[in-house]
Each structure stands twice: as C-alpha cells, then as structure tokens.
C-alpha cells in the first residue's frame, strides 16, 4: 500500500519546511536508511522549495489504533523515523504534516505532478521535479513493481492534464504576464531588444522571464550604475548610465520599468522622439512601478503600447480565474487516473491467487493420478499419458470459467457476500 507523509506551503511555515528539506547529497543516505527498515518495501522522496514528501510502499497498515496488529503500526513507525531524521518531536511533525494512504495517496501524487497542489496553480516545473525524484529513487533502488507502475501513471496523468486542459496556459504572475503580452507584439523575442529601468526585485524577475523567453539582448539602467552593472552581468546584458538611457530608447523594443521615482522616468516626449526614429517598429512599455514611471500619454502615439501594473494585474486575475476553471477539469482527470491505477493494481493482486489455486489443483491431479495407477496397477506409459491428458483437459475445462469470472470481478472489493461470490465465480 502507498502512504504519503508530507508538508507543503499550506501545511507548514517556511521555517519548518527549511528544516524538513532534503538536500541532494543527503538523498542516498536517506534511501539507505529507510529501505533498511522492515516496514518499507519501496520509497521515493520529493523535496522542492515548497514541499517535502515521503512516499512509502508498506505491507501492513493498521492504524489509527496500533494495538490490533502490533505494538506500533507502519504509519507510526514511519512518523517516528522521519521525526527522528528531522530532529523534530513526533507531535510537532504531525502538526505540520499531512498523511494519506491508498487511493488517496495516489490521487495526491497525481495532483502534485499536475500542478494542482502548487503555490501557483498549474505551474509546470513540478512535473520535472517529480520526474527527477523518481529517477533518484530508481538510482537508489527505491523503486519496485508498485512504484514503477505508479511512475508511468503519474507521467501519463500529468501530461494529459497539460494537454487536455489549459491549466498552465495563462500566466499568473505580473512579470510573466508582461512577457507573454510582449509575445503578442513580437512573435520572436530572440529578434527583440529589451531595456530594464531599475534594478529591484521586480525588474530582476521580469529580466529573468525575458531571458527565459530567449530575448535577443538586454540593456539595464539604474540611478546607481553599479546595481545596473550587476544585473546586466547576471543576464549577459549591457548597462547604461541613467542619464543616457533616453538615447538608447530608439534601439529597444520592450521597456520594463520599476523605479521608486515620484515622477515619470519615461516621458511622452521621449517616446515621441524615439518613435520618430523607428516608426515601423512597435514599442512595448511595461510599467510595474507605483507611482508610475511611464507617462500614459505615450500610448496615444502610434505603434506604442503601454501597460501599467493595474492592466497586468487584471490580466493575471482573469488568468487565475481561467486556471481555476481548468483545474476542475484537471481534477476529474486526476480522479479517473487514480481510479484506473487502483483498478489495475487490484486486478494484479488476483494473479498470484490464481497461480496458487492452479498449482494446488495440479498437485491434486498428480496425486490422484498416481493413486489410480497404483490401485489398478497401470504401468504402461502410453496409458498413463492418456489418463494425464484426460485429467488435465477436464481440469482446464472446470477452472477456465471460474478463473475468468475471478479476473473480471477482481476489483469488486467488499461488494458481495460469500454466497454471492461463489455464485459469481461458478456462474456458467
């Protein structure tokens, strides 16, 4: 059975998440430690900036009262081990973590991989992180038959969510929305040049998105030239002094501004002058400063587009709503996939049962054949072979239908009484 013990941005503050986070170099040791435990059959660990999750495949799960099966059940044993590992009291760990088992745990994993449990709904990075986590588990011998099947199902489900729903289509951060809007003006950002005015956090984030979208080149300007230089270096761009940025305006296509200036940094006049030198090429201004840096009157000039923080926020809000709508479709896919996985795993359980039954019947067939031959003193090998053929054929005929019925109803757990089960199995 699959159980998950984890914590994320909803269940634990960053201080606890930091403590629970598993570093890359700790992975190998942890896998060895956990897999050495009797209760753990398979294991995989996920550790990202917003979540830490331990997925265990265990044999016996008999909580909430541990006194039925053993003094301590597998769940409590796992809690103890993890708490010990994180140097936390079990009570503290329980306070910040969530625990799920069986189908619920499978559903949770599918939802996580699809970005449904992420801080930013539908963010795509988690898919890669889960894939990497499975790979690490494979390297550390944490994967067995169950997790291998689960891995395939997880990838399939997350891919389906991304292709069938539009959950990750619309950007939900201001800077990302700005870059996506820029793509609606310049189809190929690698041919475009951007200027970042300011060197604060917002500018850095916007520059990061631009570079991530393969922008042609970046110019950074800031009142403190050193900061501009540092930011430009980080993104392999150029830095210009603040008093010279207006001269550079005609060269750039996208301008992102976020300074603390109380007045307009880019005036309508500056835009008009720049556009005179590039009338056929549009200019896209993104103003994420409050108070605004770019004179909105500039938008009246042909071929210029100015978006301020409110415009972008309204885009983001609309996109968030769109994602929430898409999330409903995604949850349906996740639930269906968890159901299908459960069905497959249940149907697989019947295989060893059928195998055992068949070997029992074959054993009995051999015993009876031997008894019969001894009783009637049959020694002729040809005759024995014929008798064996007859018995085997009869046995196959008798067992075929019940085994087929058994396979067909293998996943109908707890639906029928014993009498009904017998009736179903021996139904013609």
């Amino acid at each position: 059975m699959l159980v998950v013990l984890g914590l994320n941005h909803n269940s634990a503050p960053v201080t606890v998440r930091e403590r629970m986070a598993i570093k890359k170099d700790e992975m190998e040791g942890l896998y060895k430690k956990f897999l050495a435990e009797n209760s753990v059959q398979e294991l995989f660990l996920v550790s990202t900036c917003n979540r830490v999750e331990y997925y265990f495949v265990i044999k016996n799960y008999l909580c909430d009262k541990c006194d039925i099966h053993s003094p301590i059940c597998d769940k409590c044993e796992i809690l103890n081990i993890v708490a010990q590992n994180c140097q936390l009291a079990v009570e503290d760990l329980s306070k910040y973590t969530y625990f799920a088992s069986g189908k619920e745990a499978v559903t949770h994993l599918f939802a996580v991989a699809s970005g449904l449990d992420s801080l930013v709904l539908g963010e795509p990075q988690i898919f890669g992180q889960i894939k990497d986590a499975f790979e690490i588990s494979k390297e550390n011998q944490g994967m067995g038959g169950f997790l291998n099947r689960l891995f395939e199902f997880t990838l399939k489900t997350a891919k389906k969510v991304r292709t069938v729903t539009g959950i990750s289509e619309n950007p939900v951060s201001v800077s990302y929305a700005a870059v996506e809007l820029a793509k609606k003006i310049f189809s190929d950002l690698s041919l475009a040049k951007a200027m970042v005015i300011g060197a604060g956090e917002m500018c850095e984030l916007a520059a990061r998105h631009l570079v991530g979208s393969n922008i042609g080149s970046i110019i950074v300007t800031n009142r403190t030239f050193e900061k501009a230089l540092n930011l430009a270096e980080e993104f392999s761009g150029d830095a210009v002094t603040f008093d010279r940025f207006a001269q550079k305006l005609p060269e750039v296509d996208i301008i992102i501004s976020s300074t603390g200036s109380p007045d307009f940094v880019v005036t309508a006049e500056m835009i008009r002058e720049a556009m005179k030198k590039r009338p056929s090429r549009p200019m896209f201004f993104i103003d994420i400063a409050v108070p605004r840096d770019i004179d909105p009157k500039g938008a009246e000039i042909e071929n210029t587009y100015i978006y301020d923080i409110d415009d972008l926020k309204s885009v983001v809000e609309a996109n968030k709503k769109e994602r929430e709508k898409e999330a409903k479709k995604a949850w349906d896919i996740v639930h269906n996939a968890a159901y299908a996985f459960d069905e497959q795993m249940e149907s697989l359980k019947i295989t060893p049962v059928i195998k055992n039954m068949r070997s029992y019947f074959e054993e009995k067939r051999n015993e009876e054949l031997q008894k019969y031959c001894e009783k009637f003193k049959i020694t002729d090998e040809k005759e024995i072979e014929h008798l064996n053929y007859l018995l085997t054929a009869t046995l196959n005929k008798i067992l075929h239908k019940p085994f087929m019925n058994l396979k067909e109803h293998a996943t109908d757990n707890g639906k029928y009484s014993i009498t009904e089960v017998m009736d179903i199995i021996f139904k013609k």
């Binding site: 793509k183 071929n303 978006y307």
Partner: protein
C-alpha cells in the same frame, strides 16, 4: 462531381478553422490544413481532367475560371502558411474558396467555342498571374483587417479569445507586406503578358472590358502602395489602412465599371 468533393472539403476545412478559433486546439488546426490540401488537390485534378478530356483551358468557362480562382486562393494560403505557420489567414480565405466553388458549381462546365481573340497563348499565360496577384491582394486585405483588429485590442487592453488566437502583431504586419510584395510581382508579370496579348489584338475592344480596367486599377493600387512604402517608411497601421481602402476602392470601381460604364 469532383468540384462537389472539393467544395465539401473546403466547407469541412472552414468548420475546423472556426473550431480552432474557438478552442485553440492544435489538432483541429492541423486537420484544417489537411482538408484544405485535399480540397485543393481535387480542384487541381478537376482542372487537369477537364483539360485532358475536353481540351478546356482554365479560362474557357466561368466554371474553369472559378476553379482557377479557388486553386489560386489555395496556393496563396499554403505559401503564406509555409512562411509564417499561422493558419488563421485561412479563416478568411476559406470562405472565398467556398464561394468560388459554389459559383463554379452553379455554372455547368461546358466548353465554350473558341474565339480567335482569346485563343492566344498569351492569354493562358497571363491570366493565372493576374488571378494569383488578385488572391494575394485579398490575402493582404485580410491581413490588414486582422492587424487593425489585433492592434485595437492591444490598445484597448481587451484580451478575449480572438486576441489569444490571432498571431503576434509583427507577424500579421509581415504577412501583409509579403502578400503585397508577392501579389505585386505576380500582377506586374501578368499585366506585362496581358499587354503583349493586347498588342496582338484589337486594343480598343479589349480596353472597354471591365476585367482589363479592373486589372489596370489593381496594378495601379499595388504600384502606389509599393512606391509609398519605398519613399517613406509607413507604419504597419498605415499600410493596413491603405490596403483596406485600396481594396474597397477597387471593388467599388469594378462594380461601377461593370454595371454602368460598359452597359
């Protein structure tokens, strides 16, 4: 019969591009291209079969001319698609193809008797160029409308599904420029060949034809636009506006010339 098949494929293609506009599904977009391609192949097959079976040239009857117009629209679409990979131009081109196919079907494909004046090789060579030049002008008109719509949405900060599906502004502007340029080349070649044909025949009789006046007007518009663009860089909006105005002007003049002047 074949023309019915191609009409059906164009109609299915149009439905698919409408679905793409609404849903944005890539598979639907690919299906649109497939259906357009199949329709176009049937159209070409029809024209070839008619030529081999009856000797009818692409200019023999209205049926044949409309078939050629359809093929020309198809070629225009696929040239632009190959360059820009933006199928939405097809949203506006496919209705033209459906309309041309319908007109073709409405007129039975009988081979008209050949007249000495039209039996020149120059006519057969010049007309496809003129038709291609015209369909590229239609494509430029479509791209111009798309540009003006998308630009207005960007200025008004209106981000509906049309905004999402339409290509980036610079791509639409490039589609417009490319259509104008290719169209101008085709039209110039077509007009030059037509001029040679005209010199061989009765100049006065041909000059009184609405089609000729239409051709001269279209070429003139193309030339003005190209000269204007060369002399001083026009903004994409200005190019789009001039293309739309020019196209409407040609249509109005053509209707006027065809209905009143040549009565």
């Amino acid at each position: 019969m074949i023309s019915y098949i191609s009409l059906i494929f164009y109609m299915i293609a149009f439905v698919h591009i409408m679905l793409f506009l609404l849903w944005g599904n890539r598979n639907v977009r690919n299906l649109f291209n497939i259906f357009m391609g199949i329709g176009l192949l049937f159209n070409i097959a029809d024209m070839a079969l008619r030529y081999f079976n009856t000797g009818a040239a692409p200019t023999s009857t209205l049926y044949d001319v409309m078939n050629m117009v359809c093929i020309s629209f198809g070629i225009t679409y696929f040239i632009l698609y190959a360059k820009y990979r933006r199928p939405l131009v097809g949203l506006f081109i496919s209705p033209f193809m459906v309309a041309a196919s319908l007109v073709a079907i409405c007129f039975p494909p009988n081979v008209s008797p050949s007249y000495p004046v039209v039996d020149s090789i120059w006519r057969y060579v010049h007309l496809p160029f003129i038709v291609l030049g015209t369909t590229f002008l239609v494509a430029a008109f479509i791209a111009s409308l798309m540009y003006l719509i998308q630009e207005a949405q960007l200025k008004k900060k209106n981000f509906g599904f049309i905004f999402q599906r339409f290509p980036a502004l610079d791509t639409i502007a490039n589609i417009n420029d490319t259509s104008l340029q290719i169209g101008f080349y085709f039209f110039t070649i077509g007009s030059a060949l037509g001029f040679v044909w005209m010199l061989q025949n009765n100049l006065e009789e041909i000059l009184s034809s609405a089609k000729i006046i239409f051709s001269i007007l279209t070429w003139f518009l193309y030339a003005v636009l190209m000269i204007l663009k060369k002399r001083r860089p026009m903004t994409p909006r200005q190019t789009a506006q001039w293309t739309v105005i020019g196209f409407i002007l040609i249509l109005v003049t053509y209707v006027g010339v065809a209905n009143f002047m040549l009565r």
